[in-house]
């Protein structure tokens, strides 16, 4: 299968996700995008979901022995096991959060960053905030989320340099800690935030619960900004927007790269220009705010505004405690 570096026929792919693909977030977007990419490129797709965060080697081996042409290991926790199986069974894998692990024909990385979308969300949050404080709550600090946290902070500061940004991590890899999400978000709201930018798989529902049941310090409503997926179907009127990811172009490009012999030689990205990265519009976004943010979006796409992607957790925290500094406007 290493011969795929010279181009190979791909008839089927598989995607492995740690939770069920009904989370309106990371897992669901991954699976939906894999299905869409498979349809687009004419291949079959196998979905292995709810695998948890433990050892996925048996599942990877089984899929490899079934003859799939590409295994997409859609969790940062899989980025050690998947390359090992790729080497062992010579089946190409795609992993996340290890951009330095490319191996031609065998291992591709798609550490994505929605920082430009998060920047727009930050601009929007600053525009609608009444209290002058916004919050960022995360259930972990993987590189993709760090980039979005930094993008959001840059957006807030660009819109209103004096605004306070409260940043809190629920716990180490607290992706399913809904109670922790509820508890930490309630504290961040009590610290003055009236807009919460939340990043967390299952824990994001706890954040949403806190937003729905806790008043802002001014007695008004708290709004929530989600990432990756669209929680509109389960929203009770508190969703401001979401930084939506569409991974279809990424997965389709991987399949084409396998066929063309360039798999594992480059990085992939989602971007505002092709709408693989975009903001969700809800009824909580005033018309003028939406128009203004869309104008900023055009400036980002045109390169008139540059948003830095910060993947390192320490650098993100430093950005939060920084109350001024040069920011793109």
């Amino acid at each position: 299968m290493v011969g795929k570096a010279q181009g190979a026929e791909v008839k089927s792919i598989a995607i492995l996700v740690p939770e069920q693909a009904t989370d309106f977030g990371w897992n669901q977007q991954g699976v939906d995008s894999a299905k869409a990419a498979a349809t687009q490129t004419g291949v079959a797709v196998t979905v292995a979901q709810g695998l948890g965060y433990g050892d996925v080697r048996p599942t990877l081996r089984e899929l490899a022995e079934d003859g799939v042409g590409l295994m997409i290991a859609h969790a940062s926790g899989y980025n050690t096991a998947a390359p090992e199986i790729a080497e062992e069974l010579k089946v190409p894998v795609a992993i996340v959060d290890r951009p330095d692990s490319l191996k031609p024909g065998l291992v591709a990385d798609y550490t994505l960053s929605g920082h430009e979308g998060a920047y727009l969300a930050g601009r929007m949050a600053a525009k609608v905030s009444r209290t002058g404080t916004v919050g960022i709550v995360v259930s972990g600090e993987p590189p993709s989320w760090n980039a979005q946290s930094s993008g959001f902070a840059q957006g807030v500061r660009a819109e209103k340099p004096g605004m306070k940004i409260v940043y809190a991590v629920i716990g180490p890899a607290a992706y399913s800690d809904a109670a922790g999400g509820q508890r930490v978000t309630a504290s961040v709201i009590a610290a003055g935030a009236d807009v919460i930018f939340g990043q967390g798989n299952g824990s994001s529902f706890g954040m949403l619960q806190a937003v729905e049941t806790t008043k802002a310090v001014d007695g008004g409503k708290v709004l929530f900004i989600d990432v990756i997926g669209d929680k509109t179907p389960v929203d009770k009127g508190f969703l401001l927007t979401s930084v939506l990811w569409d991974l279809t172009p990424v997965y389709a490009a991987m399949i084409e790269d396998l066929r063309g012999g360039s798999f594992g030689t480059k990085h992939y990205k989602i971007q505002l220009a092709d709408d693989s990265l975009r903001l969700l519009r809800t009824k909580n976004v005033p018309e003028d705010v939406w128009a203004s943010v869309m104008k900023i979006r055009d400036d980002v796409i045109a390169g008139r505004i540059k948003v830095d992607a910060t993947f390192d957790a320490a650098a993100v925290r430093a950005l939060m405690s920084d109350t001024g500094g040069a920011v793109p406007r």
Binding site: E19, Q20, T22, D23, F24, G50, G52, T133, E141, K164, V166, Y167, A168, V169, G171, P172, A174, S176, D177, A178, A179, G180, G181, Q182, R183, V184, A186, S187, V188, I189, A190, A191, G192, G202, S203, F205, G206, L208, Q209, E212, T213, V217, P233, V234, K236, A313, A314, R317, A318, M320, S321
Partner: protein, 318 residues
């Protein structure tokens, strides 16, 4: 820094301590009952998870948190009954069965959630509270500690009740004998197996209630794997407490306080790596273990199945 000194923020931190500490308290008290009787209940994480799912289901279906708590107790006892049969009746390895029960409960609750709730993610409305007259009006701690759901007061009271039960009642003596000298209990006419089965079922009830509290009050919803190791922390608390329920209460409060402190430090913008801050609760528990737990004496027959006339002076079989 000013924001962490506001009354609203401090109140939310103390409230966070209560909300995160109560499930640990209930599960820790439950674990202690099993351990007193000689059963090392590693499956408590699974009992909590089952209680969390069932508790949320009950509260969501009926609109009553109390019904949800009953569902949670029932689910915890159902998981515990498997442990009672396999470990107490059949004498299988308690650690292996406990791990198996936890993994099984994780899979089952994730599956049930997927079938029932994964497309709607329903959430419960805000929790009704019972303010304690004269105390609830105190600044900061008043609403955080004394204006809570009644189950919080019951959880604290149960630590006191169990403390009295262990020290001053025949039932407590029987329980301790089942863990320390099961053969002596047997010789005195007591029923070791029945005592241990009852203890394991009580553990399931407490753990299930703790899980239900986490889902209904702590989060207001259920998501798969949401207990996130709380059951294992409860085991540590129970062992640290050296058989004393009030120490479980103190340990749960300490852990909850440290969890809230991690949020406070982050919100205050302390320039310390988040990973270091997040270690605080675990480091605190380890420090307490080192200082106070070194001389911990666990029941002599803990973890061993009892067989009348079996090997060893006490009839236990490891």
């Amino acid at each position: 820094m000013d924001m962490i000194l506001s009354a609203a923020f401090l109140t939310s931190l103390v409230a966070g301590m209560v909300v995160s500490g109560v499930p640990l308290l209930l599960a820790g008290l439950g674990e202690q009952i099993s351990e007193k009787a000689g059963v090392l209940n590693i499956g408590i994480e699974g009992m909590m998870l089952a209680g969390a799912y069932a508790g949320f289901l009950g509260a969501y279906q009926t609109g009553s948190l109390w019904v949800g708590f009953l569902y949670g107790i029932g689910a915890g006892m159902a998981v515990a009954s498997v442990m009672a049969v396999l470990c107490v009746r059949l004498g299988l390895n308690q650690i292996v069965i406990g791990i198996g029960l936890t993994l099984g409960a994780e899979g089952l609750t994730a599956l049930l959630h997927h079938v029932r709730f994964s497309r709607s993610y329903p959430r419960l409305p805000g929790v009704e509270t019972l303010p304690l007259p004269g105390l609830a009006e105190l600044p900061i701690v008043g609403s955080a500690l004394f204006d809570r759901h009644p189950i919080v007061y019951l959880a604290v009271a149960s630590a006191v009740v169990l403390s009295v039960l262990y020290r001053r009642t025949h039932l407590g003596l029987t329980l301790r004998a089942a863990g320390d000298k099961p053969a002596a209990l047997d010789a005195a006419g007591g029923d070791v197996i029945r005592t241990r089965v009852a203890a394991v079922l009580c553990t399931g009830a407490f753990a299930g209630l703790g899980g239900a509290f986490m889902a209904e009050v702590g989060a207001g919803l259920f998501v798969p794997f949401m207990t996130g190791g709380a059951g294992f922390i409860a085991i540590v608390l129970a062992m640290l407490a050296r058989g004393r329920p009030l120490w479980v209460l103190a340990g749960a409060a300490l852990f909850g306080a440290c969890l809230s402190m991690t949020t406070a430090l982050q919100v205050a913008g302390f320039d310390v790596p988040t990973d270091v801050i997040q270690m605080l609760p675990f480091a605190a528990v380890m420090a307490v273990l080192i200082v106070f737990g070194r001389g911990a004496s666990l029941p002599a027959a803990l973890g061993s199945a009892y067989v009348r006339g079996g090997r060893g002076s006490d009839g236990e079989r490891s």
